[in-house]
Amino acid sequence: MEVYSNPLIILFAAIFTNNIIFANFLGMCSFVALSKKIEISLGMGMAVTFVSTITSAINWGIYNYFLKDGATTWLLGSVGKEINLEIFTFISFIAVIAAFVQIVEMAIEKFSTSLYHAMGIFLPLITVNCAILGVSLFMIIREYTFVQALTYGFGAGAGYTLAILTMAGIRKKLRYSNIPAPLEGIGITMITTAIMAMAFMGFNGMVNF
């Protein structure tokens, strides 16, 4: 499998071919719950984009300078070569994500109280949003450089925003359609997501990784 290194390609791939929602199916809970209204989904998309961009950059630094096998050489000299702190990857990443979600929460509360209330519990739940942790983990699995990690983080957030916005648009139209009662709400949303995921597979031929 060929790995593209150009950040622009990574950005494009993160938004379209490897969309975090439609290709990886991560972050589904907030995607389904908050795609009812366009303004709310735009706010959520922006919050996720902000958090995923910042945390992927910081987590990249933490992983590559502290946690990776032998990464602490710059700090401890030859002793560092023996040290492998990869078991701390998850817990450190989550800590960073949690901290930045707190900050985003405070910022949103200050600048838009109505958005803050509309997002409700899902705003603090970005902390345990698998999409955000997924971005940080994909970035280390794929051994990105800093710039690549940053663009990937932003791209994944933009992809999430694109997905949730299109879903909000579709659900707005769905409100006036005749949906069989058992499928109303989440049921029809999951089916629509699956169809959209298939549509997004069409981008696969353009960039693949």
């Binding site: 602490t72 450190s92 800590a95 960073v96 901290a99 900050i103 200050k110 109280t113």
Partner: protein, 365 residues
């Protein structure tokens, strides 16, 4: 070695993140106190507190039944300036006209800047009182009549008003919730008031009020209610109610008759069966004693032969029975209290008869 170094690094990371959060807290959350002004009264509260608890802390008891969850819509206040934008949760209870006037739910308004409020005078008069249950009896199978005596001699209510009883509640944040009940007796100087409480399955307030024993002391705030008894400007007072909507009607009838006014008072009351009908004998006795009082009772579900009165829904009975031409139509005052379908039905009838909105007061529940 790995583990120790890892833990040290992790703790360091947490420390750094905490510092970052601390700095942004300073940046985003205003630290200075916020000023709340009501008419000529001004007080300061910490930023970030909600308006409802700030008002309660200042002994201003505005109505609120749900304990600040934004589900009852009682704590409406008019905000003249400050307070930020209206939240979607409030729009459930606030219509376009009220929104334009700046109406907000106090429990949802988070104080981030100085605000200026406009409160009705009666909210400023409402206080917190303690009262003792002096007697209680069952009126029907599910309605209990409770008579309370207030400790404080200052307590004084007007007919048609209601009080809010503090009900202990384990699931509520502050350990209690308020429930509103209309007073069901005549104005008096003995600091007594009566409530009719209908037992609702799983209802917090009614279950508690059905269980408490005589001699028990309760806390309540009040009195509230904007309706005003103005017999001098009316030529006829019509009271229509159903279910537990009886309470304010009885209070008004008793008060009006005790004052020996010549104002004609008509009472229309609907219930489902004879068993659900309460105060029936009380009103029949009043009817024989006073010439200016008449009462009509209608049952919607009664199959028994023994019932000699009207049958059907009370709004239909009222439409057939009431004679609009007997007095000046513009000087009849209507007081409606009952379930929403009844009020809607009555409003339709009254609109068709060209009764002005100002002549009608209603309370839906």
């Amino acid at each position: 070695m790995n583990i120790i170094l890892g833990i040290v690094l992790f703790i360091l990371l947490i420390e750094i993140l905490l510092v970052i959060i601390f700095i942004s807290t300073k940046l985003f959350i205003p630290q200075k106190p916020v000023k709340v002004s009501i008419k000529d009264k001004t007080f300061e509260v910490n930023a970030g507190e909600d308006l409802l608890s700030a008002l309660y802390a200042e002994d201003i008891f505005i109505p609120s039944a749900c304990g600040g969850q934004g589900t009852c819509g009682y704590c409406k206040v008019k905000v003249k300036s400050g307070g930020g934008r209206i939240l979607p949760i409030e729009k459930e209870f606030i219509n376009k006209k009220e929104e334009k006037e700046g109406t907000r739910l106090a429990c949802q308004l988070k104080l981030m800047e100085d605000v200026e409020l406009d409160l009705p005078a009666q909210y400023l008069d409402a206080k917190e009182y303690e009262a003792k249950l002096v007697s209680a009896k069952m009126l029907t199978r599910d309605i209990r009549e409770l008579v309370f005596k207030v400790d404080d001699d200052d307590f004084c209510f007007q007919c048609g008003q209601y009080v809010q009883i503090k009900i202990p509640c384990k699931t509520s944040l502050n350990g209690y919730e308020f429930r509103a009940y209309s007073v069901a007796c005549a104005e008096n100087e003995n600091c007594l008031f009566t409530l009719n409480v209908k037992l609702v399955d799983g209802g917090l307030g009614s279950t508690w009020l059905h269980k408490i024993e005589e001699g028990k002391t309760i806390t309540f705030t009040g009195p509230y209610g904007e309706w005003q008894f103005k017999p001098e400007s009316w030529e006829h007072l019509v009271l229509i109610g159903g279910g537990v909507g009886m309470a304010p009607l009885k209070s008004i009838v008793d008060t009006a008759l005790e004052q020996k006014l010549s104002l004609p008072v008509s009472l229309y009351f609907g219930a489902r069966t004879r068993k659900d009908l309460f105060y029936f004998d009380h009103f029949k006795e009043l009817e024989s004693k006073f010439d200016n009082f008449s009462s009509v009772f209608a049952l919607s579900d009664e199959k028994s032969e023994n019932w000699k009165g009207k049958t059907g829904f009370i709004h239909q009975v009222f439409a057939e029975d009431f004679n609009f031409s007997q007095v000046d139509k513009d000087k009849i005052h209507f007081f409606l209290c009952g379930p929403p379908p009844m009020i809607d039905g009555l409003m339709e009838i009254l609109t068709a008869k060209q009764i002005f909105e100002e002549q009608v007061f209603y309370d839906k529940f």
